[in-house]
Structure formats: structure tokens, C-alpha cells
């Protein structure tokens, strides 16, 4: 494995400071953790356990997110909100030759426990509990992390989104990718779900995080994926 990873530092040119005080987001993290712990206890390990319709749609999202990565050389990858580690299985099937140093991070101890059990003994696959991303890696991806707003006020949820993007940025060397539910064209909303327009977060990534951002849409779902690459990518 030659991909660089660093368990102690964050991206040196970017402050890991969060735009929202940890004290404010603490209860948000706690609610999210409780929500997904309940999901997996009711539905077990599988797409429904992390609120996806099915394995196929879950993996179609992975396809989009991984367009960020250069599979032509080894790399390290942080999977933020990894759940039970579905991405690990997908990587093994879709990119069996790729040399990937994977770290899955999730707020839910129950999820991480299931992930560790599911992928026990698989080389280059590790998991950690918490909202901190504990190492610098080449890339970070997050699938579905921003979608379930629960009953949090939208402004507070957008603070959570911004904070998560900052953490992904600070812990990535080359770029990060994240997906969002798209705003319905007629403006309708779904209770508890966060929907938005690409411009809301492309501008944040470009202006606040100084990234070059690509938007993937039209892949069969009412959502979009942002691919953020660093202008000073090594």
C-alpha cells in the first residue's frame, strides 16, 4: 500500500474549525445516532437498515461518489457515515483490483459494531465511531448523510451540513464527494428530509473551501452528487 494516510493530522492548509459550535451540534449528532441505531435494530444489516430503498439504489449512489477517485493508483478513503460498511462490499465487487486503504466512520456505535463484524479480517478495512474523522486520507465520501433532517430547524441542519463538509475537506488530501436530495421542481417538501439545490453547496465548496466542484445529476434519482476537488491537489 503506497497511498498516503495520516492518523494524526488534518489537511495542513485548511483550518479544521467548524462553522457551528460543537455545543450546538452535539444534540444533532445524538439524534442522528439514535435514529440510525433504531433503524438497524428494526431492519438489520441491509439497505433498509440505513434508510435506502434497496441495494441497487444504494450502489448506484456509490458509483457516482466514486467518480471522484483515481482508481489507476492506490489511494486512501474515508467513508463518512459508513453505516454497516456497505461500500466495502461494493468496492470488493466493483473494483477488486484497486488498492484502497479504507476507513469507515459513523456516529452510531451499533452501526460500527455491525460493520466490524461484517468485514472482520478484511485487509485495509477499518472503522471508527464518532463525528470526528480521525485521519487525513486522499478522498472522503458521504452517502445519504445530509438527507434525514428529522425535525431539526433547516438553519441548524445546514449548520450540520456545513460542518460535515468542512470536516471532509479538512481530512482529505485530494477531494471529497457527497450526495443530496434535490429540491422538487414544484417546491414540495417531505417532512424530515433535507432537499436542496446544487448551487447552495457548490458555492459553499468553491468560496469557503476553495474547491473545484462538479455536479452529477440525471442518474435516475431525484438527487445530485457533488465532486469537490482541491485546487492545490498534489
Amino acid at each position: 500500500m503506497t497511498a498516503e494516510s495520516d492518523s494524526a493530522s488534518t489537511r495542513p492548509s485548511v483550518s479544521p474549525a467548524s462553522p457551528v459550535e460543537v455545543a450546538i451540534l452535539g444534540p444533532v449528532y445524538a439524534r442522528i445516532e439514535a435514529y440510525y441505531a433504531d433503524k438497524i435494530s428494526r431492519h438489520g444489516v441491509g439497505p433498509r437498515g440505513v434508510d435506502w430503498t434497496c441495494a441497487a439504489t444504494q450502489e448506484l449512489r456509490f458509483v457516482q461518489l466514486l467518480k471522484l477517485c483515481d482508481f489507476g493508483r492506490p489511494f486512501s478513503l474515508n467513508d463518512v457515515g459508513c453505516g454497516y460498511g456497505a461500500l466495502v462490499g461494493f468496492l470488493a465487487r466493483r473494483h477488486p483490483e484497486a488498492e484502497i486503504d479504507y476507513l469507515g466512520v459513523d456516529l452510531s456505535p451499533v452501526m460500527v459494531s455491525r460493520a466490524r463484524r461484517r468485514h472482520r479480517g478484511v485487509h485495509g478495512r477499518r472503522f471508527a465511531v464518532g463525528n470526528e474523522i480521525p485521519r487525513l486520507a486522499d478522498y472522503a465520501v458521504a452517502s445519504g448523510v445530509m438527507n434525514v433532517m428529522l425535525d431539526h430547524p433547516r438553519a441548524l441542519w445546514e449548520g450540520f451540513v456545513a460542518d460535515t463538509l468542512c470536516r471532509m475537506h479538512a481530512s482529505s488530501r485530494r477531494g471529497f464527494a457527497v450526495n443530496f436530495l434535490a429540491q422538487e421542481s414544484d417546491g414540495t417538501t417531505n417532512a424530515g428530509l433535507y432537499r436542496t439545490y446544487p448551487s447552495r453547496w457548490t458555492s459553499f465548496c468553491e468560496q469557503t473551501l476553495s474547491c473545484s466542484v462538479g455536479v452529477l445529476a440525471g442518474y435516475g434519482m431525484r438527487e445530485f452528487t457533488l465532486l469537490a476537488r482541491f485546487n492545490d491537489e498534489p
Binding site: 434497496c54 439504489t57 450502489e59
Partner: protein
């Protein structure tokens, strides 16, 4: 179905299938999934393809019966000479989802006494829909008492 799978499980699974292939976002999603993963192809059993879409009997006790029913339709003829019912359904899904203008799909049933074959046609959709659909119809043999739900 009927003698093989309980009425409640049959209704449950058919509702799931029709929801995932209905007009609008659902069929667009299916087209994208087929393009990326070739979910419906002669290499995969219909049961496995549906399972990948999380289409299965909600009651775990019914799933074995559902699987046996999918195997059973391999023994049922279809409206294509030399193609069994299972393979006819797979072909209908694949051809429609990969066509330049895919249609929503509707899954229904007819009496085997009237036509013992699996039938695939194009026609008006269910209920209030005026859109053309690909309609797949499965022959059923009503029995005096449908299978009790598995225990």
C-alpha cells in the same frame, strides 16, 4: 400463486413490483439501475433481480414459498414459442428498460383456464392511468382455499 403463495403475500409482492415500475420517477430509476447494473438479464434469476431491488414478501415466512413460485414459472409456457414464463418476464423487463423509450410496467394476472401462458403486451395502464404500459400477466389457478399464510 394461489395454491403456492398466500393471498396476502401475493398482494404484498405485486404491490411492491408495481410501485417500483410505475410511471415517473420509479421507472426512470429502474432504467438507470438497469443501465448501470444489468439487473435483468438471462444471467440472473428473476428472484435474485427482485431481491436486489428489495422486492420480497414482507413476511419472512413467505419468502421460501415466493422463491419456489418463481422457480415454478420456469415450467409455465409463455406467449413466445419455446420461451418459458420466467425467461419471458426477464426478457420483458430487460427489453423495456433498455429500449430507447421505456414504458412504465404493470404486473397483473389472468386465469390459467383462459390462457395458461405468461403474457406480455402493451396497453393502457391500471386504474386511472392513460399512459401506455408494458403489461406482464401471470396465469393463476384459483383453488378452493388459497394457501394459508406460512407459520
Amino acid at each position: 400463486m394461489g395454491g403456492m403463495v398466500s393471498d396476502s403475500a401475493t398482494r404484498d409482492v405485486i404491490a411492491q413490483i408495481n410501485a417500483r415500475f410505475e410511471a415517473g420517477e420509479a421507472i426512470e430509476e429502474m432504467v438507470a439501475l438497469q443501465r448501470e447494473f444489468k439487473i435483468f438479464s438471462p444471467e440472473h434469476s428473476l428472484y435474485d433481480s427482485w431481491l436486489l431491488l428489495n422486492i420480497k414478501a414482507s413476511d419472512p415466512r413467505e419468502r421460501g414459498r415466493w422463491r419456489r413460485w418463481v422457480d415454478y414459472i420456469r415450467t409455465v409456457p409463455s406467449d413466445l414459442e419455446g420461451v418459458n414464463g420466467h425467461d419471458r418476464l426477464v426478457r420483458a423487463y430487460q427489453e423495456n428498460l433498455e429500449s430507447p423509450q421505456p414504458l412504465p410496467m404493470h404486473y397483473t394476472q389472468h386465469l390459467a383456464a383462459e390462457d395458461p401462458r405468461v403474457l406480455v403486451s402493451t396497453g393502457r395502464g391500471p386504474l386511472f392511468s392513460v399512459l401506455n404500459h408494458v403489461i406482464t400477466s401471470i396465469p393463476i389457478r384459483p383453488v378452493a382455499v388459497a394457501s394459508e399464510p406460512a407459520t
